[in-house]
């Protein structure tokens, strides 16, 4: 695909690196000659110097025939304006890095004018990734659908689980709220129907709301390594987003932040979190706040050195799962050798996230697929469709549909209400429907019906 990236900062570079390794035609644009030169000399891509929000520079970069323009400069407004200009120049899709949550919430109103396929927020992405690690440390894979309302979670079933040797139709734990949608056994993937028998050692993927998934796993003896008491060191943007998601899933969150004013702000916007004003690098403070007994700690301060140092310290006094935010990726190999569990690079995550999105986009050109995920080592695809009025499958009970083999409807999102479909459910126009299948390249919801 032809991709233009405006802005060669950390986010832009990480996106370019990720996409370059997949062989896309990439042009990077930046107003600073040196950043362009450094990036285009170190990767097999083309560099254009200039203001990427101007029409001429975008045309120079080939935006008129580009499949995608990614705006990743330091400012939200410039990014959105760049997308608008890129759309005017003829770019097919745009992605903007938008940090400010106040803008993110309104973006859907101007989505079409901007040609915006996705708005990405590096801090939010990092927070989602960290919360995943804290909530489901034992999960093998987690993918979010319907803007994060439902998740597809893959876990390994232990030998002593309640559901072993049971048919799927006989499992009545949280029936109607949880659905087993794929089973991996001996390297083979099955899309199971009701008669499928689960065995110990299977790797199953379930779809449900995050909080329900946690209850389900507890009931079937799958240890998911959930952290109940989490301490966040540093009260920056990532902390804020992370605290918000963690609180929503019922975790106790404590934030330690040095700056008193920021503490006040946090206390205001996160009423359910415990905000501690103090220096995170103070051992006594950490001990008095019970760092030894926390299940999870995330070091999210501004300086990498502090984060690394404090993680090493906590590792020596506590059993908590520790997540360390590191911005500089140059010394990864050194970090691997230190006693640090889990390192998060926010800017890199953004690159990976966009790369994943583009991979999916490539497959869905010209279809009405909203989201696509490759699961189980690419053997299974989960696709999210928007149901059109003209669709052939509306108004029929699911049990009366003649679906293809190895295919299931696993979730229906009806204006924000999540339905884990049973045989008697009916699909209506405008629903968002998630389908899981081993067939590749479905482009329309009607394709799920078998031909005869």
């Amino acid at each position: 695909m032809k991709i233009v990236i405006v802005g060669c900062g950390k986010v832009g570079s990480s996106i370019a690196t990720e996409l370059n390794s997949e062989g896309h035609d990439i042009v990077v644009v930046d107003i600073d000659q040196n950043s362009v030169k450094n990036l285009s000399d170190s990767l097999d891509i083309m560099g254009i110097e200039g203001n990427g929000a101007t029409y001429d520079v975008l045309i120079d970069a080939g935006a008129e025939s580009a499949d995608l323009v990614i705006a990743a400069t330091a400012r939200d407004e410039i990014n959105l304006y760049t997308c608008l200009m890129a759309k005017a120049a003829g770019a097919k899709h745009t992605i903007a890095r938008v940090r400010n949550p106040e803008y993110t919430n309104d973006l859907y109103r101007v989505k079409d004018q901007l040609g915006l396929s996705m708005a990405i927020n590096p801090e939010l992405t990092a927070a989602v990734e960290i919360s995943r690690l804290l909530r489901f440390a034992g999960a093998l894979e987690i993918d979010a659908f319907s803007r994060g309302i439902v998740e597809l979670i893959k876990v390994a079933i232990p030998q002593d689980s309640l559901i072993n040797n049971k048919k799927i139709s006989e499992i009545d734990i949280l029936k109607g709220k949880v659905r087993i949608c794929s089973v991996e056994r001996d390297g083979e993937v099955y899309i199971p129907n009701g008669d499928f028998v689960i065995q110990g050692g299977d790797r199953i993927s379930i779809v449900s709301k995050p909080e329900i998934a946690a209850r389900f796993f507890r009931k079937i003896n799958v240890s998911i390594g959930r952290s109940r008491d989490v301490i966040l060191l540093g009260g920056g943007k990532v902390s804020y987003y992370l605290a918000k998601t963690l609180i929503k899933s019922g975790t106790n969150v404590k934030i330690i932040e040095r700056n008193a004013q920021r503490c006040n702000e946090l206390a205001e916007i996160l009423p359910d979190a415990v905000i501690i004003q103090g220096d995170c690098m103070d051992q006594n403070l950490l001990l008095s706040e019970g760092i030894e007994h926390a299940d999870g700690v995330a070091a999210l301060m501004d300086y990498d050195e502090e984060n690394i140092l404090i993680s090493l310290y906590i590792n020596s006094v506590s059993k908590a799962k520790i997540i360390t935010k590191v911005n500089n990726t140059s010394f990864d190999n050194i970090l691997d050798r230190l006693n640090i569990d889990c390192v998060i690079h926010p800017k890199n995550l953004t690159g990976e996230y966009i790369a994943r999105y583009i991979r999916a986009m490539q497959n869905t050109v010209g279809s009405n697929v909203e989201t696509l995920y490759r699961l189980n080592e690419d053997m299974v695809e989960a696709l999210e469709f928007r149901v059109r009025k003209s669709s052939k499958i509306t108004g029929i009970q699911i049990k009366d549909m003649s679906l293809k083999d190895n295919l299931q409807i696993i979730c229906i999102n009806r204006r924000g209400k999540i339905i884990i479909p049973q045989g008697s459910d009916v699909i209506m126009p405008d629903d968002l429907v998630v389908v899981i299948t081993k067939h590749k390249g479905l482009s329309d919801l009607d394709d799920i019906l078998s031909r005869h």
Binding site: K2, D25, V27, S40, D41, L43, D44, I45, M46
Partner: protein
């Protein structure tokens, strides 16, 4: 320095050269000459050696930094010339090794200066190899490698391109180096084919037309006739060749812009207009200056047009003796020898774009004399030229003058007349080929001794690689590990 990757690149260069030599083998089969055997054997040996080099010492990492990129390019040019000269020498058609080496370097660097007094005495397979050297050297073997080998030089392969492509600013016009290199070769092959067809349409024999097209494309200037292009004595042939010389002397990014239909941008390239301006002015001066020697004004124009395009593009084709021209015309010829073709073309010389940058820098200096606090930037094609580029252009000029002075000093040991010594260095350092005096378009370099030839060989390589990559090989710090 990552020496393994250098060996790896040299290995590929050997394979490509071995393959390229087979064009001579095939020619020998067609003409039923047994000299083709030398090409076959040398080519096969070269390919086997290259294959061993890439297989046995496959580099662990493909990361290539600037230093290794420059060294690999410079070494591959020396190696190619060495391998390329073996058939000439082994077959005995050019009995002296230094002569064979000189001829090959001259071919690869698209200089076109020859030590042969009787070109027609060579067998056809030698002739086609000579012309093919011009063609291959024009766009460059490394660029060819970049086009065919995926991931050569890793992500930093721009450094290979920088070492081989002429001009002060080397960039890509498309995102992927591989497709960019392929695009360059595509345009190169396309233009060569166009010339071949036009020459064939005019009734030139296929073998002559092919050789001439190869030599024109690389702006090399090797002919297969003793009289060079004067042997094709029609206005049509000579005009076609003159026009194509000018086309090959033009920045290839111009053609890329044309192909991508960015006409406005294409014709905004300042270097293009400066180049055309120099050509028009030189042709005009010489035409008027020599009009009395030739029977008609048109003849004078024809001579002048052909010779100006031959010299400014550093091709070095000749259609007659210019030693009889008045001094003013000779002076113009010498000056445009130095200017050379445009950046990003197959031509050599100082490059029009460097001259343009320097002119603008000088103008800026004048402005500073008048208004000492004046703040001004140098712009090209509407974009600000980075201070680093201006600095390296100035340094290029200094080193260029230095090498010129030193070579001039060394060649003067030969005790030739001033014009011959001076223009022989000018013609070889700028990859033009013929100079004036004894080494004029009808003369050759056979009269020089071994030492002088060695100096000229160095100048040719230095000129083609634009000085620094070759000089880097002589810098001890380049070979240190850290």
């Amino acid at each position: 320095m990552n020496k393994r990757i250098i060996v790896y690149i040299l290995g590929w260069v050997l394979i490509i050269e071995g393959a390229a030599m087979q064009i001579a083998t095939v020619t020998s089969l067609i003409f039923n000459e047994h000299e083709g055997l030398y090409f076959f054997l040398t080519g096969a040996a070269s390919a086997v050696l290259g294959f061993l080099a890439i297989k046995v010492k496959k580099p662990k990492n493909m990361v290539l930094y600037q230093k290794a990129g420059f060294a690999a390019t410079a070494l591959s040019w020396i190696l190619m010339s060495f391998v390329g000269c073996i058939p000439f020498w082994a077959s005995g058609e050019i009995p002296s090794f230094i002569d064979a080496f000189f001829e090959t370097v001259s071919g690869f660097t698209t200089t076109g200066s020859t030590v042969l007094t009787n070109v027609e005495g060579l067998s056809n397979c030698m002739l086609i190899w000579r012309s093919f050297l011009n063609w291959l050297g024009g766009m460059g073997v490394i660029v060819f490698l970049l086009a065919i080998i995926p991931k050569l030089g890793g992500q930093q392969n721009i450094y290979l391109m920088k070492a081989e492509s002429p001009g002060p600013i080397v960039g890509k016009a498309v995102p992927h180096m591989r497709s960019y290199a392929a695009l360059l070769y595509g345009i190169y092959i396309g233009l060569t084919a166009m010339e071949l067809i036009l020459l064939l349409c005019g009734g030139m024999g296929f073998f002559d037309a092919l050789n001439t097209s190869f030599a024109t494309a690389g702006t090399g200037g090797f002919g297969i006739r003793n009289a060079n292009i004067a042997a094709y004595n029609t206005y049509y042939f000579q005009t076609v060749i003159a026009v194509f010389m000018l086309l090959f002397g033009l920045n290839f990014s111009f053609y890329i812009l044309l192909l991508t239909r960015k006409f406005k941008q294409a014709f905004r390239i300042e270097e293009l207009w400066f180049y055309i301006g120099i050509v028009v002015l030189s042709v005009a001066i010489i035409t008027i200056n020599i009009s009395s020697i030739y029977p008609s004004l048109y003849d004078a124009f024809h001579q002048s047009f052909f010779y100006v395009s031959s010299i400014i593009t550093t091709t070095g084709f000749g259609i007659g003796d210019v030693n009889q021209w008045p001094e003013l015309s000779k002076a113009v010829i010498i000056i445009i020898t130095f200017i050379g073709a445009t950046a990003g073309s197959t031509g050599g010389g100082f490059k029009v774009s460097r001259l343009l940058i320097l002119c603008k820098e000088v103008r800026k200096e004048f402005a500073l004399l008048v208004h000492p606090r004046n703040v001004k930037t140098v712009k090209m094609d509407g974009k600000t030229v980075d201070h680093n580029i201006i600095r390296s252009t100035c340094m290029f000029l200094v080193v260029y003058m230095g090498i010129f002075a030193l070579s001039f000093l060394l060649i003067s040991i030969e005790n030739k007349d001033f014009l011959t010594s001076f223009t022989s260095i000018a013609a070889n350092l700028n990859n033009t080929g013929p100079g004036l005096g004894e080494v004029g378009p009808v003369g050759n370099y056979a009269g020089f001794g071994i030492f002088s030839k060695a100096v000229l060989i160095f100048d040719m390589l230095a000129g083609r690689l634009e000085l620094f990559p070759l000089l880097l090989l002589f810098s001890p710090s380049a070979w240190k590990k850290a």
